[in-house]
């Protein structure tokens, strides 16, 4: 490794290479910050995953299993259960998927892929990360404050108003989201500026790898959705503490207004989660099919289109609020339209594989897993987009199964695909292949056993966010919890693989994937040196990177 470092291009690493804690706390290096994001995401995954495991333990059998607060204190335990549900959602969304995709892989590989030496605003990059880390601490503090916020991630008033959550827990949660939102907006501005202004000569926007496209679209969604959440949260905060009545009917406000504001943010937010996954999967599928991606421009603009339409479908989360028939008809049609660009993406991935020289390395396995899971969730999404069906399925486990397939586990599969694809580039060592394959299969089986039966529970009418249920739901809930055990074991195996990779993985060359890997990050050695592309690469004559 030492000889590799001395061979780094522009070998003046010692100039800007602080060591020890200063290297991380004060970091302005996109790779170090990316690494910190990935570590934060792993910590978040352990906490958020533990919460969901506790939920599944409680739901394994009918009745109350683990009343930690003793007999007669059921209300406190139910609140605790709601806090678990809330914490699981917030942590998985804001502190696992977003940091891994945008912060982790985005920071690491956008500058590398476009041939930029670093992000446009390296110090702002540092602020983004530490704001997010503080937000996570604040959220955990909230969970342990006076019963915690048991509002669900949607934070609907009146449940979230001072009447039903009188303590400071919800206020702390709101402040945590404010910090996370600020972090995301700063990160998004950084990404957009980097992608617009710092591409290497010849790297035109239409030659940019699809992963960069996905990050660009995601950054725009963040830029426009997060401030709306911030506005809504501020209103909620002043409603709770300073006597305003934005969502308070007694003062002329309307709680449904919160739902509109929240979902105007919330729907783009789910695309923020999954779009970078599209990008990762596009790179992986192309690499391991040894073909350029099929329909590059269609793929790029499908993401742009998804981003636009994502802002115009929010009320499909609110069919039960009493929208009239015409409004529902609009939101049904607009939501169904999203199936078109996502279909373009799915078919383009398949067409990329078609006739390709496919090697099923672990990243490719996870990418295929992603496509399968995303299509599963997409199909139930098309069903749920219809107001007539959704009114029956609203707030049941069918919805839970749908969004876990389409964004949660599909997102996690994309993250794993990205991890196995790029870990050699990030740390210079390859993952242990056999263990990684076991990880894929156990995880794939685990999540399907976990989430598929929830379709059945949901269709039978089992509601979300309630710790107890009638006996007739017992069977599929038991199966679902078995799936949770498999998934948990598989997750622990993943952390073992991380440790094995870092401690005993075999050294990898600059490009371990062969001729399919054409993007710029594979032209620098592994691990990527601290400083790259001080001399901008000239892409003028090269083929469009795929």
């Amino acid at each position: 490794m030492a000889d590799q470092e001395t061979a780094a291009p522009g070998g003046h690493d010692h100039d800007h290479h602080p060591t020890g804690w200063r290297r991380w706390l004060f970091s302005t290096n996109h790779k170090d910050i990316g690494t910190m994001y990935i570590v934060l995401s792993m910590v978040g995954a352990l906490v958020g995953g533990a919460m969901s495991f506790m939920i599944r333990l409680e739901l394994m059998d009918p009745g109350i299993q683990f009343n930690l607060f003793g007999a007669g204190e059921e209300a406190a335990y139910f609140q605790f259960y709601n806090v678990l549900v809330t914490g699981h959602a917030f942590i998985m969304v804001f502190f696992v998927v977003m940091p891994a995709m945008m912060g982790g892989f985005g920071n690491w590989f956008v500058p590398l892929m476009i041939g930029a030496p670093d992000m446009a605003f390296p110090r702002m990059n540092n602020i983004s990360f530490w704001l997010l880390a503080s937000a996570l601490v604040l959220l955990l503090v909230a969970a342990f404050t006076q019963g915690g916020p048991g509002t669900g991630w949607t934070v609907y008033p009146p449940l979230s108003s001072a009447e039903f959550h009188p303590g400071p827990a919800v206020d702390l949660g709101i402040l945590s989201l404010h910090l996370a939102g600020a972090s995301s907006v700063l990160g998004a501005i950084n990404m957009i500026t980097t992608i617009f202004n710092m591409r290497a000569p010849g790297m035109t926007i239409h030659r940019m790898p699809l992963f960069c496209w996905s990050i660009l679209v995601t950054a725009f969604l963040l830029l426009m959705a997060m401030p709306v959440l911030a506005g809504g949260l501020t209103m909620l905060l002043t409603d709770r503490n300073f006597g305003t009545a934005f969502f308070e009917p007694s003062g002329g406000g309307d709680p449904v207004l919160w739902q509109h504001i929240f979902w105007f943010f919330g729907h783009p937010e789910v695309y923020i989660i999954i779009l970078p996954g599209f990008g990762i999967v596009s790179q992986v599928v192309s690499t391991f099919s040894r073909k350029p991606i099929f329909g590059y421009l269609g793929m790029a603009y499908a993401m742009v289109f998804i981003g636009f339409v994502g802002f115009a479908v929010w009320a499909h989360h609110m069919y039960t609020t009493g929208l009239d028939a015409d409004t529902r008809a609009y939101f049904v049609s607009a939501s169904l339209v999203i199936a078109v660009p996502t279909g373009v993406k799915i078919f383009s991935w398949l067409a990329t594989m078609w006739g390709g020289s496919i090697s099923f390395r672990v990243p490719m396995m996870f990418a295929c897993g992603f496509i399968f899971l995303f299509v599963m969730g997409g199909v139930t999404g098309v069903a749920l987009a219809n107001a007539g069906m959704d009114i029956a399925f609203h707030d049941t486990y069918f919805v839970v199964a749908h969004f876990h397939y389409v964004m949660a586990i599909a997102g996690v599969f994309a993250m794993f695909a990205g991890f196995y694809y790029w870990i050699g580039k990030m740390c210079g060592r390859q993952y242990p292949r056999v263990l990684a394959r076991i990880h894929f299969w156990s995880f794939f089986i685990g999540v399907n056993v976990l989430f598929f039966p929830q379709h059945f529970s949901g269709m039978a009418g089992m509601p979300r966010r309630i710790p107890d249920y009638p006996d007739n739901y017992a069977g599929w809930n038991y199966v679902s919890s078995i799936g949770a055990f498999i998934t948990t074991a598989s997750t622990l195996l993943f952390f073992f693989i991380v440790w094995r990779t870092l401690s005993a993985g075999e050294k990898v060359p600059a490009n371990p994937w062969g001729e399919g890997a054409k993007t710029l990050e594979w032209t620098v050695e592994s691990p990527a040196p601290f400083h790259t592309f001080e001399e901008l690469p000239d892409m003028t004559d090269k083929q469009a990177a795929e």
């Binding site: 446009a120 830029l223 911030a230 105007f264 009239d324």
Partner: protein, 211 residues
């Protein structure tokens, strides 16, 4: 290399400034959503928001009738008895009607309340117009005082021609009284369930008489 970097720096700052403006604008839009949403509800009758009319309609009333039911609620924080005098009336569309509610302050302190309102089904909000209503202003009630409060309204005959509202034969007008916010509301900061000390509640004409 160096001049190119400074060039980039300028360009980056400009881009970032534009993007910060966009983010700031979106925060502004979130707050602008509050008055816009209110306006939207008033204009379209969204969520069962009744219309407010200055005048009864000039056109002759329709022959078809519609039933209007009256619902009354008082928030537990406001110790008032609040009931409609009649639970329902049948009116001709386009003809103004007057209905009364009766409110009694059950506490031994003067209280100020303000009422929120809407109609169900929500889609009827567009066709339900109020000309005059006690809910437009705050209501002050002395300890034990009982008042009758009127609402003058009409149902727009358009309700019979809109395909969306063909199935509406009954509209329910609902009110909920809350303690008024601000200085006056403080009179009721200690809401006492002082039913005993209040004068005997006046019997309220709540029998289901047809209007």
């Amino acid at each position: 290399m160096a001049p190119m970097r400074t060039d980039n720096r300028k360009k980056n700052r400009l881009t970032a400034m534009v993007l910060f403006t966009v983010a700031g604008g979106m925060v502004g839009l979130a707050f602008a959503a509050v008055p816009l949403y209110k306006l939207f509800c008033q204009v379209t009758g969204f969520g069962g928001t009744p219309k407010i009319a200055a005048q009864p309609p000039a056109a002759a009333p329709s022959d078809r009738t519609i039933t209007v039911r009256f619902d009354a609620n008082a928030n537990p924080a406001l110790p008032w008895r609040f009931l409609p005098e009649k639970t329902q009336v049948t009116v001709r569309a386009g003809e103004p009607a007057l209905a009364f509610y009766r409110a009694t302050n059950l506490s031994d302190a003067p209280l100020t309340g303000t009422a929120t309102f809407n109609v169900t089904p929500f889609k009827a909000g567009e066709y339900f117009s109020k000309i005059d209503c006690f809910c437009f202003t705050e209501q002050h009630l002395a300890a034990g005082e009982e008042v009758a409060m009127g609402v003058r309204f009409f149902v727009d005959p358009g309700i019979f021609t809109d395909p969306n509202t063909q199935d509406v034969t009954t509209i329910t007008l609902s009110y909920t009284f809350f303690p008024a916010a601000g200085g006056d509301g403080k009179e009721g900061e200690k809401p006492q369930q002082a039913k005993a000390s209040a004068p005997a509640p006046v019997p309220v004409a709540g029998s289901p008489v047809k209007g």
